[in-house]
């Protein structure tokens, strides 16, 4: 039973991280209908920025609490800046181009960012500093759930709640929902669509950065290529839940995290990634609208 609970909780942790990344995919898709291929790279850059900042601060002898806060904020700021810049350079000029064009541009951006980090930093795996301490009160249940799992679950829950409130009640959140429903109408009622799109990229990137920081300190190492596989999995989660739908992205992520955790725990870990990819292929073929998405009717 303990093993089952352990797998369940580690599945939830996994799913939470996927959710933080998947939200970025789903929000961007909801607004401009583009699969932002470079989103996994934004997450990777978040992890790298927090690694660089945290290690530097720890070398200069700052206390742990300060390191966590500064690294988290820096990761969010720079990831957002990258997300914003990528949109401005690679997607905005192509908003009226044929559908294939922004997709190819996104793939290019993804490759570009990966290799930029590879060249500017290193291709080796880097040890990520332990930012989350082992809490004493977690001692009795440590064999089932680690402290960092707990932190990840709580942080994700808080972030989700904040995001929901943000989208429901703030001006820009409302503008986002309006733009997602009908971009032309939003433009006509005076919403600055460019600003909404930028805000979506910034928000999605910040969420991905938090995910990057959490997973990196959870696993303990990073390298330039972590964004690719994480991006694909988060995208799988977003599609599973119904791309464009925010609750769908969270649900899909949790489902994917749990199934992966149980599959690796009870079956075999060799085919973990094959499993995720196969799931993606199967959903897209048989139920492309996902669990909570709505099927789109073609206009003629």
């Amino acid at each position: 039973m303990d093993y089952f609970i352990e797998l369940f909780l580690s599945g939830l942790t996994r799913g939470s991280i996927y959710a933080l990344i998947a939200l970025g995919y789903t929000m961007v898709y909801g607004i401009i209908g583009l699969i932002n291929f470079a989103h996994g790279e934004i997450y990777m850059i978040g992890a790298f920025t927090s690694f660089i900042v945290a290690t530097t601060l720890s070398i200069y002898g700052f206390p742990l609490a300060a390191i966590v806060v500064v690294a988290g904020v820096a990761a969010a700021i720079w990831s957002s800046a990258y997300g914003y810049t990528v949109e401005k350079i690679a997607y905005k000029p192509l908003r009226h181009a044929p559908r294939l064009a922004p997709l190819i541009s996104a793939i290019g951006m993804s490759i570009l960012l990966q290799n930029y980090v590879l060249l500017a930093q290193t291709s080796d795996f880097l040890a990520f500093p332990a930012l989350i301490p082992e809490f004493a009160f977690m001692e009795p249940v440590a064999h089932i759930i680690g402290s960092s799992d707990l932190v990840i679950l709580i942080t994700t829950a808080v972030v989700m709640l904040a995001l929901t409130l943000f989208i429901k009640f703030t001006r820009i959140g409302k503008a986002m929902r309006a733009t997602a429903q009908d971009r032309t109408m939003a433009l006509l009622v005076g919403i600055n669509v460019d600003r909404v799109i930028s805000a979506t990229f910034i928000l999605g990137s910040a969420l991905a950065a938090i995910g990057g920081l959490l997973i990196a300190s959870h696993i303990g190492q990073i390298n330039f290529a972590i964004g690719f596989i994480a991006g694909i999995k988060a995208f799988t989660a977003a599609v599973l839940g119904g791309i464009g739908s925010i609750p769908g992205a969270v649900l899909g992520s949790l489902v994917l995290g749990l199934t992966e955790s149980f599959a690796t725990g009870y079956v075999s870990s060799d085919y973990e990634d094959v499993f995720a990819f196969s799931l993606l292929v199967l959903i897209l073929i048989f139920k492309p609208s996902g669990l909570l998405g709505k099927a789109d009717t073609k206009k003629v």
Partner: protein, 412 residues
């Protein structure tokens, strides 16, 4: 080039933004084991100057493009490049072709075997590019898992040889057909999907194939791969390594010629027209009685076929295959070749395959930046020159003896 103060100011702001953006990753380098921090301040300067210049150039380009579009009403009319112009003029066409083929034939004798070997690789990418060009360039289906078919070709030769001692020449068609078969199997459920979903599914398929090859030890020998794959034979003749390399080179020349011939004929056929139409408007295509699934499937399978052929040749050339040769990046390189060359343009794909494979080989200093450049090419081409280096030109048709011929020729 006229630059106003305002534009320069804007570019300065852009450059400032990039200095900020790249600051943590470009400037700070930490070593978590030795616990040292290196501040690479000189990078600030490079980034500042680099982004300033690129920003100015990009702006100048966009201004020029807008002006050109304003001047010419028929902006969407693709103009023939000089090379194509020459190829279409009979007076130049044959001397040019003879010159090129002379050069191609003499190449291994003019230069070293090492050079011929590099050239063979470039020729392989030409065929891969032409194959993917059918799928992406002509039919407009973004296939991000093209490398899977390449892997299928390579592994089918490796495994057929390992288990059944099948020779190169027997494996060559089998590899191609097997890849095409996989193309059909994948395409059948997948080709109904919308363009962007299709891209993701093919990407997933590519990764699945690679991961299966990596993990299924009993079948594919896992990550260590299969070695001692024989090179192609020539009527049982024993060849030195040098001769085998040169033989390989001529083989590839032959395959390139065959591919160009076949792809060219396909493009200018009933099928090729349907592919192009499908790229432009699927619904209109269906309304014209075109079975879109069937037409897409043929494009997909034909593209896969060439990848399978080159896969077999790759296995024979390197005498060793392992899953690491078939990552997503390989698909991305081939896609970059198609995009840079110009979607649907055969001459363009040949040129860009040569540029993208030979340039990093000969400028060793650049080879480190190879993938960075490929990424940048994909983005830049989409923004600045989506039609590619050498755009495909629409064909005009000739008529046989009819009263309308005169009227038609007046028109040209």
């Amino acid at each position: 080039m006229m630059m106003t103060v305002k534009e320069i100011k804007k570019s300065l702001l852009v450059s400032l933004w990039f200095v900020f953006l790249t600051f943590p990753i470009m400037v700070i380098k930490v070593n978590p084991i030795e616990r040292t921090v290196t501040w690479r301040w000189s990078n600030v300067l490079y980034v500042a100057v680099g982004s300033f210049v690129i920003s100015l150039l990009a702006k100048a380009w966009l201004v020029r493009k807008a002006r050109a579009a304003g001047r010419q009403q028929a902006a969407c009319q693709a103009r023939a490049s000089i090379l194509q112009e020459l190829l279409h003029r009979p007076g130049y066409r044959y001397p040019l072709i003879i010159m090129f083929s002379g050069l191609a034939l003499a190449f291994p004798h003019l230069f070293s075997t090492y050079q011929a070997n590099i050239m063979t690789t470039a020729l392989m990418y030409i065929v891969l590019g032409l194959g993917l060009n059918i799928v992406v360039g002509v039919a407009g289906l973004l296939d991000l898992g093209y490398v899977a078919f390449y892997a299928i070709g390579a592994y089918s030769y490796a495994l057929l040889n390992l288990n059944f001692h099948l020779g190169f020449w027997a494996a060559l068609p089998i590899g191609g057909l097997l890849a095409a078969l996989f193309g059909l199997l994948l395409g059948f459920p997948v080709l109904r999907l919308r363009g962007d979903y299709l891209a993701i599914v093919t990407l997933g398929f590519g990764e699945i194939i690679r991961l299966v090859l990596e993990n299924w030890n009993a079948f594919s020998k896992g990550p260590s791969g299969i070695s001692n794959i024989p090179r192609p034979g020539f009527f049982g003749l024993e060849m030195s390594l040098d001769h085998a390399m040169i033989y390989m080179y001529y083989l590839m020349i032959g395959l390139v010629l065959l591919t160009v011939f076949v792809v060219n004929r396909l493009q200018h056929s009933r099928l090729g027209r349907a592919w192009l139409a499908l790229r432009e408007d699927e619904i209109a295509c269906q309304a014209m009685g075109i079975d879109k699934t069937r037409i897409k499937l043929t494009a997909f399978a034909l593209g896969a076929f060439w990848a399978g052929l080159v896969g077999v040749i790759f296995a024979a050339k390197t005498t060793f295959v392992n899953p690491a040769s078939f990552t997503f990046l390989e698909s991305a390189i081939i896609l970059a070749i198609v995009v840079l060359g110009g979607m649907g343009s055969i001459v363009g794909v040949i040129c860009s395959a040569l540029i993208l494979t030979l340039l990093p080989e000969y400028l060793r200093a650049l080879s480190e930046y190879r993938m960075l450049a490929f990424g940048a090419i994909l983005v830049a081409m989409m923004i600045f020159k989506p039609e590619g280096l050498i755009a495909a030109v629409r064909r005009t048709y000739r008529f046989h003896e009819r009263k309308s011929v005169a009227a038609l020729q007046d028109d040209e």
